[in-house]
Symmetry: C2
Subunit: 496 residues, 2 copies
């Protein structure tokens, strides 16, 4: 995709300035329309060192109201981010509805630099390219406008620019050792950029700008930006089509077929609880030292006993190394972003354990049933979630998902008890009763969810919880066994 540019005639500055002025005015007008249409825009600006990415962004934003945009430089993200998945900084940086985010180099530079430095293997590089395609598609399908720009300069141009920067005390510090290395390895970098762009050109196309012709580049970028926005605004916010994707799925029973009779007597419960908690406490140390990230998901019927179950799993853990994330209805700044954003930003650091009390599966349950998203949205979500969880396990995470299960009679008994016990009344709301009336619809949704998202890397476990004690022991045992296995396999675990 990167060709040598014919120097050609010099730029027609006057004409280009007019063009830039017109486009800027257009962009200014689009601000309000974007806001009204609640459409978010992500502009990825990649390119060579010293190609002028920063100054291009400066020109793009110069007329936009600061309330409508943000510039994000993942390049300055410190090493700490190495403790999160590859896509984490980008997924965290996506704009809210109606706003524009400019990424000053992003996932492309990240991938290319790491593979060039041999910090990741070719296999891992391929996985990341696939993850990038998934990520871009998910955003697009969720209504995001994505514009991908690459600012290209040839080797000679880069040489002159680096020399000029190095020539002045004031700008010398801007040239890093990395930049010089890139320049020396220009040819190899060019191949790497080319190949990355070819591999990621399908869902969202790349646009190469000639950084050697500054005004043309600015005018070109503005044209792409306003053109992309205009097109999207014309058709209204895009909603992606559901799609089929192959994941290795575990066979799950229908909820109706689950035998809820298992129970445990109290003495046996105490004995096993103590033993399993002691073991989990030891494993937490290993998980921490081996830097394995652990994600434990709890879903289940109201009053199924999620809270008490979570407490028993959490009790033996070192509070410094785990978090429970209770997921309530999204706040405005969360609703205004792609639905996985509020989970991306709540992920554990490597070596930490995160217990989600309700999860991203809200998309295919409450959001589906209450009409908080379109049918296409929740139908797409099965695959999107499978992709998301695969991204987590490819990062190195252990993902365990529990459906805490009870029958309708048990729920009624527990609701009634809550209603009649003053210190438990806060746990029961009108909404719980309303949800209860929708039990049959929820059962359909849960069954479909279990069938479609119990992947081998992130399986569902149905926890029979008519007897809460039994449920706690079963969940604890699954956590312990899964972590045993993970800790054994990863003798010298290396985070991707």
């Amino acid at each position: 995709m990167l060709k040598d540019y014919d120097p050609g005639k010099p730029e027609d500055k006057r004409k280009l300035n007019d063009e830039i002025k017109t486009r800027r005015a257009e962009l200014l007008g689009q601000q309000q329309q974007l806001r009204d249409a609640k459409v978010p825009v992500l502009v990825l600006v990649e390119g060579w060192a010293a190609a002028g990415k920063g100054s291009l962004i400066k020109e793009l934003i110069s007329e936009i109201d600061p309330r409508f945009y943000n510039v994000v430089s993942p390049a300055v993200i410190p090493e700490k981010e190495a403790r999160y998945p590859f896509l984490y900084p980008y997924a965290s940086a996506i704009p809210e509805n109606g706003k524009i985010v400019f990424l000053d180099s992003g996932w492309m530079e990240d991938c290319v630099r790491k593979v060039m430095r041999r910090e990741i293997t070719q296999a891992e590089y391929k996985r990341r390219v696939r993850q990038v395609c998934e990520f871009e598609r998910q955003l697009r399908d969720g209504g995001y406008i994505i514009i991908k720009l690459f600012v290209h300069i040839d080797r000679k141009e880069q040489e002159e620019r680096l020399a000029s920067l190095l020539g002045q005390a004031d700008t010398e510090w801007r040239v890093t050792a990395e930049d010089m290395w890139q320049h020396r390895e220009y040819k190899r970098f060019r191949e790497a950029y080319d190949s990355f762009m070819e591999d990621t050109d399908t869902t969202i196309p790349w646009h190469v700008l000639n950084g050697g012709r500054r005004k043309e580049a600015i005018s070109g970028a503005l044209k792409l930006l306003t053109g992309g926005i205009a097109k999207a605004l014309e058709h209204g916010r895009y909603v992606g089509e559901p799609f089929e994707e192959d994941f290795p799925l575990k066979k799950m029973p229908r909820l109706a077929d689950v035998d809820l009779s298992p129970s445990i007597d109290e003495e046996d419960y105490r004995k096993q609880l103590k033993k399993l908690q002691a073991r989990l406490s030891e494993l937490h140390n290993v998980v921490y030292r081996k830097k394995i990230p652990v994600v434990i998901c709890y879903e289940g019927w109201d009053a199924a006993g999620k809270g008490g179950n979570i407490r028993r799993v959490a009790y033996p853990l070192d509070p410094r190394g785990f978090d429970v994330r209770p997921i309530a209805s999204p706040e405005p700044h969360e609703i205004n972003r792609q639905y996985l954003w509020r989970f991306w930003t709540r992920l554990p650091r490597s070596g930490h354990i995160c217990i989600f009390d309700r999860t991203w599966y809200g998309r295919v349950m409450v959001e589906r049933l209450e009409g908080f998203c379109t049918e296409k949205d929740w139908q797409r979500a099965y695959n999107e979630i499978n992709e998301f969880e695969r991204q987590l396990t490819e990062w190195g995470a252990v993902v365990i998902k529990f459906w805490i299960h009870i029958d309708q009679e048990t729920q009624l008994a527990r609701f009634t008890e809550r209603q009649n016990t003053p210190e438990k009344q806060w746990k029961i709301t009108e909404e719980d009763w309303r949800n209860r009336e929708k039990w049959p619809q929820y059962e359909v949704a849960v069954d479909e969810m279990l069938q479609k998202t119990s992947t081998e890397n992130a399986p569902w476990y149905i926890i029979e919880s008519n007897d809460k004690l039994y449920a706690r022991i079963k969940a604890l045992r699954i956590v312990v066994e899964t972590l045993e296995k993970a800790c054994k396999e990863r003798m010298a675990f290396d985070l991707n």
Copy 2:
């Protein structure tokens, strides 16, 4: 405050277990009351290495519903946080209304360790102690319950515990070089802890627990926690009294006395704009290299021209090194925390420039006039804000505050123009008209704000903006001159 404990009789485990059980039940019941009363609780757990802080916290949280608490370990905050003010990690970690945050060591360990390592001077240590007192008082006055615990063990006990940890392959890694150093320097650490506690015991008292007697420590901590909560709940959410504090203030004119006639002709404007922007661009490099954090605050009348003014200041800046933070009405998770929280979490990193489009001064303007806080709250805010800004400048930040000023006729003309220009209509809302009717009340509030918060370290500048061009040049010049001065003074700037 740290005395040698008489070993005394062994613990009465049975009695203590009963006590712990009772207290836990009490705490469980308080959850709901805290939520209803919207009272947040911050529990600071400090203490010796190997004293059992983590395991104490584990016992405190074991029965609490995960939706009601969070454990935060600033100890694991990586070096990156060194690019923020000393209090930043703690101010960022404060709980929401109705929730409890347990800090697993915090500002005390941070201060003591840094001064012991001679990473900060005695003078800086004293400033930090003062900042801690300010921080604790502000939270308390804002309705926070704060419980400060110190888990104490004597030298011999620490020796045995470290030896036991080091004796097992499984736990060996938990003992750090820092811990061993602390143990060697036990006596000096003890003096340092003692002196820190004495200096910070006034607003919120310290409680020393004997870590050598585990059950007693747990039971004691639970008693303090439930007792503190019960007391606070009995009296309802606390609202602190306004107080007087001496700050070196600059003399400010009344708004009514400001001459709004200054203007500039367009040619002169273009010339000066170009010159000042070029200089600001150079200064941004210096600011970046010297790691000076810069905070530029914009307040002003609706339609005074804040947006256009900000854009002219932002244009020459490298987008990688600055952010504009537009401040809208707070979201639920923001309203539910002390009012400065959403500004703490938006501070620039050192070397970066942050432009706030509206600021924390909303407290003494819109919140005051619309009754969003009590009279005591906004009256206290003048000093609280002066303290906050002093904390910023002591960190090393440059703080510049602009009041963009116009008269009522100019506002009316601009409102009318917005109303009549289709592409500007989004900028004008019903609320703007309503605010306009309250001009006299706002003027009183703004005058009081300018009088009380124009400190020498963070002064206000009134920018006459009936002529927007004049206003832009004046603001740019102040930014340039202030940064010139800061860059010159800090030849070898060292962040506190």
